[in-house]
């Protein structure tokens, strides 16, 4: 017995020694308050594919620090700012676009940036037929006028300035380093190679864990003033751990924390939370291909039964705004008021108009399993619909299962409701209207199965006009929004805010919803 006690004491003493030897939880090792190193704690893997033509995911937050684009679009001011292109112009019919290029820019591989590289990059991205490559589909040919001037000729009018400044597909790479054969070059990229003109270049990476960038000495803007010399993208999927990292000062930036955690962090002096209007919204598709949602009155009843305000209050905890259109209200061409609001009496009226005053039918609500907020939305909506006699069955499954079901040829397989998060990949309402509400040959993204020739024509016209007369296009998009709202084929669940969480010493971040989640680290620094 004595020896047992002794053993126990030793064990306890050892445990205390071990736990005591490393300091406490806040600011373990003093955090990364190294002036020259920035740490971005990412909720997703920092890089899934190193090929800039293929990148169509959150890895663009690394790409935008390594590669540059021809233009930068400032959504807040609605202006295009020069980056690699110094100026640009287009013909009145929107078919010919001319870009003058910046001189004296060098790629990380040492070669000069010229018109050849622009032609190579755009063609490579357009022809790879992966990820966001369709954005360049309009480009018919690219003519090199001289070393620092290119001309893009389109097969149909398209606003190339939007594509050239897009958060995806717009990266310019060195034609010197990249093999002309796509298979060879994409494999080369994925060995962990890059050849951009951006302020940082790849120093090292551990796939599935982190990417470390270091400054490129010959960057064309120079390194005068305060800048970070190294940038680390560290992948941490657990929200609780990411919050811990932020609180401990171990990272400078993160995003995608649960609303409850954000509220807590806002009270913390060591943390800065930036909350701005974003460009993503929740769209719930309604299955118009079969009864009962093929009846517009029932769809409207469902739309009036949706708890819009409660959802903002309890699910988003205020980090979202009421949806005003099927596209976010901050996007140009968006209507500024939705005809639908929460009103069960109105919902009952529409049910009566459909000949089912007491409801009495069952609808299925499909959502991605594992999403806490969608589960809450589903449960709240279920409770509301129950009040007007409609039973809502919740069908959580993986997104892929849901999408496969929704795309099924068999109408019976398709769920009645399918909740999705939509984000603007292109700064034009076309990002939403073209895939979601335009007729398509095989079902892919038009998951309300809504086919309206009149709307198709309007959308096509609006896309064409974007290149020629943006105000006119905005007008057309507003009409599109009204038609979709009138036919009530989707429910709008609110516009999400962009929330970025910073260490309070981190300065220089400028919020621009066009580049969601992207921090241009060259413009940032640490306050002393």
């Amino acid at each position: 017995m004595k020896r047992f006690k002794l053993l126990l004491t030793i064990l306890v003493a050892m445990a205390m020694l071990l736990t005591g030897c490393g300091g406490d939880r806040s600011g373990a090792n003093g955090g990364v308050q190294e002036a020259s190193i920035a740490v971005y704690s990412t909720p997703y893997e920092p890089i899934l594919d190193w090929d800039p033509s293929v990148c169509f995911s959150t890895d663009n937050s690394v790409f935008h620090n390594v590669y540059e684009t021809l233009l930068y679009y400032d959504l807040n001011k609605d202006t295009f700012e020069p980056v690699l292109a110094t100026e640009y112009s287009n013909s009145d019919d929107g078919l010919v676009w001319n870009f003058k290029l910046r001189e004296g820019v060098k790629f990380h591989d040492g070669s000069d940036f010229t018109a050849e590289d622009v032609k190579f990059s755009i063609e490579r991205t357009r022809d790879c037929k992966m990820g966001p490559s369709y954005m360049w589909d309009a480009v018919k040919e690219i003519n090199i006028i001289n070393d620092y001037e290119v001309e893009l000729v389109l097969s149909y009018p398209d606003s190339i300035e939007l594509v050239a400044s897009c958060a995806y597909a717009s990266f310019i790479m060195s034609s010197e380093s990249v093999d002309a054969d796509f298979k060879t070059s994409t494999a080369w990229f994925n060995e962990g190679k890059e050849c951009g003109t951006g302020p940082y270049m790849l120093k090292s990476q551990t796939p599935g864990d982190k990417v470390i960038l270091t400054k490129y000495d010959n960057y064309w803007k120079g390194w005068e003033g305060k800048h970070f010399t190294d940038v680390v993208f560290q992948y941490t999927s657990e929200t609780a751990v990411r919050r811990q990292i932020m609180e401990g000062g171990e990272a400078d930036v993160t995003y995608d924390l649960p609303a409850l955690d954000v509220l807590e962090l806002q009270k913390n002096d060591a943390i800065k939370v930036s909350v701005d209007n974003g460009l993503s919204d929740i769209i719930i598709f309604m299955n118009t291909s079969r009864a009962p949602l093929n009846d517009v009155n029932i769809r409207k009843a469902c739309a009036y039964a949706f708890p819009y305000e409660d959802k903002l209050k309890y699910v988003d905890l205020g980090f979202a705004t009421l949806a005003t259109d099927v596209i976010p209200s901050t996007m140009w061409g968006a209507n500024q008021k939705s005809p639908y609001y929460y009103d069960l009496d109105k919902a009952k009226e529409y049910l009566a108009a459909a000949g089912k005053p007491n409801g009495g039918f069952t609808l299925e609500f499909a959502y991605s399993a594992g999403s806490e907020s969608w589960k809450k939305i589903a449960e709240m909506y279920k409770a509301e619909l129950a009040k007007i006699g409609i039973t809502l069955e919740l069908a959580p499954a993986s997104w892929d299962t849901n999408w496969t079901r929704a795309k099924s040829q068999n109408k019976k397989d398709r769920p009645d409701f399918l909740i999705t998060m939509q984000w603007a990949d292109l700064m034009s309402p076309a990002y939403a209207y073209k895939p979601m509400f335009h007729s398509e040959d095989t079902v892919n993204w038009n998951l309300s199965y809504y086919y309206n020739p009149k709307l198709d024509k309007l959308i096509d016209e609006a896309i064409r006009m974007t290149a020629i007369d943006k105000d006119k296009a905005a007008e057309l998009y507003k009409q599109c929004g009204q038609i979709v709202a009138e036919d009530c084929v989707v429910l709008t669940g609110g516009d999400k805010k962009d929330i970025m969480i910073f260490n309070s010493g981190f300065e220089g971040y400028y919020h621009n919803a066009a580049y969601k989640g992207i921090v241009f680290f060259y413009d940032c620094s640490r306050a002393k």
Binding site: T239, A240, P258, L260, E264, D310, K313, Y314, A369, G370, E372, K375, K376, E379, M380, K382, A383, A386, L394, P396, A397, S398, T401
Partner: protein, 298 residues
């Protein structure tokens, strides 16, 4: 008919007496006794859950966003969850789900495994080889991994998780049954029955199977708790029960997003699992001590 009952009585009476004796022996073990009481309470709670729950509506879909994530209080003795439902009510219903699922899974697996094992043990030859290789293959996967794969394949739902559990949980029973069948086949009375030309099926059903029951019962009672744990683990990974089903593992999984601020939400469902599984394991242990001659002397 009468003779049939007579026969049944004759063959089961000694077993029943043995069972009574076992119960008596088990009752000497205080822990087993306590566990038995706990288990009985749990079973009663499971049966009556919808009637005795303080907030019966909360068992299913009701939401009360205004009272979300409240700590334990007089109104909600174990607090509320993220949409304002009473955790105590949901735990009660969770007892029902867990107990029912584990009984169904263990029962079906034991019966299915026993039939296969008996077939392998008595028919012998290639049937035995094939069946045993199949059980080898299933048992070669670390526990739960194959179940995870199957339930991911079938899609996330409680029903599918149960099916996946059944698909992967039967091999030990088959193995057990076959081994005891092999031993018993060598016993003189079976040999005698064979010698007088009794049919194989009859021998199996009448002589072999009843005598292999004890190890099966031990295994089944030991498995009950393990099944509840596995099911909770599946739900925790997002593969089993789906919201708003009040399954314990799922509740812990959901609570993870809030556990530092609202510890009660994670702690109580876990305690429910520990208490239930512990009670079952203690009973299983007690049963084993009584039924398994090998451990009796310890």
């Amino acid at each position: 008919m009468e003779s049939f009952f007579e026969k049944m009585k004759k063959s089961f009476l000694p077993k029943y007496k043995e069972f009574r004796l076992s119960l008596h022996l088990m009752n000497r073990n205080k822990l087993s006794q306590l566990s038995m009481i706990i288990l009985i309470i749990l079973v009663v709670a499971a049966i009556l859950a919808p009637y005795i729950a303080p907030y019966p509506g909360d068992i299913y879909g009701e939401v009360h966003m205004g009272s979300a994530l409240q700590p334990p209080s007089k109104d909600h003795i174990l607090g509320t969850d993220e949409v304002g439902r009473d955790i105590f009510s949901r735990l009660l219903q969770g007892t029902r789900i867990s107990l029912a699922c584990s009984i169904i899974i263990v029962l079906i697996c034991a019966v299915f495994g026993a039939i296969l094992g008996a077939a392998a043990g008595t028919l012998g030859r290639w049937i035995d080889d094939v069946l045993m290789r199949i059980t080898d293959i299933f048992m070669a996967f670390p526990p739960l991994l194959l179940t995870i794969a199957f339930s991911a394949l079938l899609g996330a739902s409680l029903k599918n998780a149960i099916i996946a559990m059944m698909l992967t949980w039967w091999p030990p029973y088959a193995r057990l049954m076959r081994n005891s069948a092999l031993t018993i086949r060598e016993r003189p009375y079976v040999k005698a029955a064979e010698a007088i030309g009794t049919k194989k099926l009859r021998i199996t059903v009448k002589h072999i199977m009843p005598n292999c029951i004890a190890p099966l019962i031990i295994q089944a009672s030991m498995d009950m708790g393990a099944v509840i744990l596995s099911l909770a683990s599946l739900s925790f990974l997002g593969l089993g029960a789906q919201s708003p089903q009040p399954e314990w593992g799922l509740m812990i999984s959901t609570s993870r997003a809030y556990f530092l601020n609202c510890p009660w939400y994670s702690i109580f469902p876990g305690l429910a699992i520990v208490i239930t599984v512990l009670a079952m394991n203690l009973i299983g242990d007690g049963l084993r001590e009584v039924l398994d001659p090998k451990t009796k002397k310890n």
